[in-house]
Symmetry: C3
Subunit: 202 residues, 3 copies
């Protein structure tokens, strides 16, 4: 299992956990947990595969992905009660998934042979779409509307990985650097309320 396979399962698991936490906030039943966790876990990668024409999509080819979602959902269903500040945990897991998926999505774009700018975009889409689906289906404002740096973290992770890969840095090292940076950036934004200047000119 190479680093990207690992990033894939990691991204799926953490996003699935955020979906399960959203389900707990909505007081859904265990099937609701499974559903929302799966949608969130596989949503971004599904869009990425559809856009690149890589169908059937990844989880159809590798059902283990769904088992990861299901296991995560069940664990959260029984464990979430002991989690204080559930929304904060959701945001931290979301940050981890954002970082992992931004780099994974970019790598899959590169592997599919698209141009670098497209690979960056597929990275950002993979990283953000699962959370968007989760928030929309939960009838919550999407995380994109939050003030702190969010998409920027995904964009930086994808850009770093694509750039380092362009300069022939080994994929695993490049990915490690990119994921770390993106997670640190999003994490720092949450802890210290880092923001880019928001549009306020009126």
């Amino acid at each position: 299992m190479d680093v990207f396979q690992l990033l894939d399962y990691a991204g799926v698991a953490v996003f699935a956990a955020t979906g399960a936490l959203a389900a707990s906030r909505k007081r859904l039943d265990v099937i609701g947990f499974l559903f929302l966790a799966s949608m969130t876990g596989i949503g971004g990668g599904t869009l990425r595969d559809l856009i690149l024409g890589l169908t059937p999509v990844f989880w159809v080819k590798d059902p283990v992905i769904l088992l990861v979602c299901a296991a995560t959902a069940l664990v959260m269903y029984f464990a979430a009660q002991w989690v204080e500040h559930r929304f904060t945990l959701l945001l931290w897991l979301d940050a981890a998934g954002l970082a992992a998926y931004a780099v994974l999505g970019a790598q899959i774009g590169l592997a599919a042979g698209v141009e670098n700018i497209i690979a960056i975009v597929t990275g950002v889409m993979t990283a953000t779409f699962g959370g968007i689906i989760r928030d929309v289906v939960s009838h919550e404002p999407t995380v994109l509307l939050r003030q702190e740096i969010y998409i920027t973290a995904a964009l930086s992770g994808a850009t770093i990985h694509v750039t380092l890969s362009y300069f022939d840095v080994p994929a695993a090292i490049s990915a490690a650097i990119a994921v770390t940076f993106a997670f640190a950036l999003r994490g720092g934004a949450m802890m210290f309320c880092w923001t880019l200047p928001a549009y306020r000119r009126d």
Copy 2:
């Protein structure tokens, strides 16, 4: 026209009717009825086909599907006024579509040669996504957030059909049993407020 073709048209028609009822609740014009009815009627199957890589999607290959949506929308536009308790009717039609599409989606997954667990998932997605689109576009909380059993009914229908098919039960019989069970489960949930234990542990 075999049983699955029938399930397909039935699922399209009843989901289209729920979209039209949502349009009537939003006071849309007749074109809005056509649009929302079509989106709801074909949404789930469209996602299913995209995920399985069966493109162009089913209604592109069989435009009759769109005529079914249009006819349903027009009938509802002129008939909805006589419908008391329109939201209740929407929920019952939604239950019928849920049952039909869960089994149809699972069958199409099986026909596409995916693993059984994936066929169950494509069944659930086919059954639920049209209603999600309807609710999101109508700016309503999605039906998934309702307390009574909903996804569970789709999951049971898809699982029963896939399981019976695995044991070589003739497809038509298997489908009839699965659709009946799923519809009865969702219908009973609505009538008697059946629920699974919701997440309430805090």
Copy 3:
């Protein structure tokens, strides 16, 4: 660059501008502008390509599209402050994009060899889906729910183009007529509150 290439870039640019205006109303940062502008600009065409099985989708094959989105977003980020009545501008640009994309989407459907009714539907979807994504991601009621003629304008543009093409009117002329009519219809609807009889029968 033929007339449809032009319509494509025009549609992308104006929808991207509406996404950027939505971002300004939500006080997003510049990356949020880029993201929402791109999603809105390419959303409709992406759905169209997915449904027709034309993958990888258009902007993966032609990254200039994304540069158009990015440039538009940046211009709006710095220029929006001088725009009075920003929501009105959003609606007018949306009307222009609606007209351009309805005809472009129909033409791409025809070029893909689908039946005329399907080409009309792909036109309407291309024209409406970007705005739907923009509104849903911005957590706003979708523009479809507005009372004035909206989908009807897209439908008329797509229908006119498909009909004229059926009678062998040169594509450029047919497109010009269809775009003009659709834009005039939507524009008139906004100025004079043209509506179709809304569903009010209860």
